[in-house]
Symmetry: C2
Subunit: 418 residues, 2 copies
């Protein structure tokens, strides 16, 4: 008998029939004696429909009012899912973000959870009620409705699991776990039975779309055992089997396991970015801020940043931004930055890809980077940028080589073998 | 400079373009120096869509969860309308029912407003902000979302006007006022410039669909000057002209005006009911309760009730119910009532219509009923039931005579003449 938080994505609740399937799955876990908190997303397509309506009215919608509109998507599904559970004879009750309440800061459209009140939920759970909580939304100190941004329902679920000290947070989605890489590109890609929190974090950052990165951060901060698994399987799959399905994100570091574990856990990639280089800037203190300050002021996120050692008092700085922000970033650099810093030139490239290898084992193994670079070189793939962390090595390459790079790296590190 | 509450119906906010028109109208009133509280309904069709979704999941949706789902319709429009106002350069802010907060009892799907907190709204109004409040919804003492039932946005608007002591509550709808009868049946039907609260109440009860009856009750209880007017006119119609448009519901009783006023203000009708007669029941105390008690227990509303003087210790009781409840009511009577009260027979008729004449002047004029009955008799229309109040006479007739009865009564009481 454990407390389990289950999150269901938009596809899983995309129709009346699918909502009924979610209810059957929840009922099965309840029948096995567990306490359940269920966090559904909005029905597939609904959030986009609502944002589309808003943009028809106001091309750049007011963030406070956009959250008022967008939060209704999840409010509809909590009501519908509660009905489906009641129809199966279970006790069930829905909670919107403010009813829980899930408190956030006031950063509309990308708010962060600050606290979660658990009194009412615990009371309902003690009475045998399945508690259905709206994902993606909260309420700020002034009582305004807030949303957590795309994928925010994952964060809601993990945060609830943390607040309630749940045994496990199960993220039901349309993939059946975390893979060594995207199976659409590498058919031999293998599902990982476990992945460490740190690896998951690096994979999310590197473009793996399985979990929103903020939910992974939350899972790590509060050590919430989080399992990614499929909602497309038979809802009546035995509980004992489903409890072992998918991929579990772990925190315990068992030295024996770590030794036996593969060096590299996965290959991630991302084609959403563009590269910008500022050429021949004076190599002096403050130059990075002079370039990236105005970019940050425009709320443009910068990802990989590389600055090499200078030559003749000059250096080049290269960084990547989301492709949607590319034109805006170039304009800022040319109008606000170039006039002040006397660089020689500013160039950019939208046709790049970021490819990363991720693995806890990397920390204790030398030569991983060298093996990665050699593998790419053997295929004639030029590396434009390199960036490394403790457990990840990222390279930026020409976009057209993405699939090839992912495939050869997956093979080179023998990821198809369990 | 006055405080005005404006309510806009579902058709008025049925598309992005229409929402922009509402915003223009509001902006016009704001530019004339008035403080504005605006109460939109859900976009046309949205509430039905949401209820349809709920019924797909649960044929008889759980009332609490149905309110959670249904309340999202108005939450979407407050956000969108606020955006449209902001886009026009106005200050605007949306409030859901719980944010105001509008407190109600816990009768889900048909809750009643108990109190309205006005602090936040007043603060916003003082700062020059147009306040946009979700109609149709509130929150009960336990923090559950409630809705007020069909047409509830009218009630929200009138209740807000009462709480804020607004100068006027303007109900913008797809008709341009209250008519002497339905213009689709009597082309000569005339728009009333004013109508008393009591007349409006009787007309609403008799089937006139312009305003929800509960909103009229609210207007009467708190003496809120309420004006019904069209949202389909040019939004830029001059404020001075629009302030005189439509039909104003009044409370002052000016004896001179009352004398000059027509005896009858309107002819209302309703084809949604069915008639049930319980024949030859013992004429003894408690018999009405024995018949109608089980009907009320099944939450079936009974409208007209007629019981004539008895004969030989027996009497007949006839009453009307909504046509949707007819089969259910008949079943209750035959299974739960007939075995106990020993009546001779129970008969019913679904093809009836209720026709009423309404007017404050009726109180001081004799012979109105006689004139009504004679007018119908001259057309060969048989009267099946008669029920009277201070300012209304209702008859039940065969359904096929509805249009004819309405037309001849409209003419007999000279309603086409101002």
């Amino acid at each position: 008998m454990a407390l389990i938080v289950q999150k269901y994505g938009g596809t899983s609740v995309g129709s009346a029939e699918r909502i009924r399937n979610v209810a059957r799955r929840v009922a099965k876990w309840r029948a096995a004696g567990h306490d359940l908190v269920v966090v559904p997303s909005a029905m597939a397509g609904e959030t986009n429909r609502l944002i589309g309506l808003a943009k028809e009215i106001q091309p750049q919608p007011d963030p406070r009012e956009l959250d008022v509109v967008a939060a209704t998507g999840e409010q509809v599904t909590i009501g519908l899912l509660s009905m489906a559970l009641l129809e199966l004879g279970l006790k069930a009750k829905s909670y919107s973000g403010w009813q829980v309440k899930i408190s956030t800061d006031s950063a509309f459209t990308k708010a962060r959870i600050t606290t979660i009140e658990d009194t009412a939920i615990r009371r309902d759970l003690a009475a045998g009620t399945v508690v259905v909580v709206a994902g993606f939304q909260g309420v700020d100190q002034a009582g305004n409705i807030t949303t957590l941004g795309r994928g925010g329902s994952d964060t809601s679920a993990v945060a609830l699991a943390a607040a309630l000290k749940a045994s496990e947070c199960q993220i039901f989605t349309d993939v059946d776990g975390v893979y060594t890489t995207d199976p659409r590109i590498v058919p031999e890609a293998r599902r990982l039975r476990t992945v460490t929190f740190e690896e998951m974090l690096e994979m999310a950052g590197a473009g793996s779309k399985v979990l929103q990165i903020r939910s992974v951060e939350f899972a790590g901060k509060y050590r919430v055992p989080t399992r990614v698994l499929s909602s497309l399987t038979d809802p009546m799959m035995p509980v004992a089997e489903e409890a072992q399905a998918g991929t579990l994100i772990t925190f315990e570091e068992d030295p024996i396991m770590a030794m036996e574990k593969a060096v590299i856990s996965g290959v991630a990639f991302n084609r959403d970015e563009a590269k910008i280089t500022v050429h021949d800037v004076p190599d002096r203190p403050g130059i990075a801020y002079a370039i990236l300050g105005p970019i940050a002021d425009a709320s443009i996120d910068v990802d990989v940043i590389v600055q090499n050692v200078g030559h003749d008092g000059m250096t080049d700085m290269t960084f990547t931004v989301h492709r949607n922000d590319y034109a805006k970033a170039m304009k800022i650099l040319k109008t606000q930055v170039q006039p002040h810093i006397k660089c020689r030139d500013i160039s950019g490239d939208e046709r790049i890809a970021k490819v990363s290898i991720v693995g806890m084992g990397m920390r204790s193994h030398a030569g991983i980077a060298a093996q990665m670079f050699r593998t790419l070189a053997e295929e004639g793939i030029n590396i434009q940028m390199i960036s490394t962390s403790e457990i990840k090595i990222t390279v930026v390459i020409e976009e057209k080589y993405t699939e090839l790079a992912v495939r050869v790296l997956h093979k080179a590190f023998e990821l198809e073998q369990a």
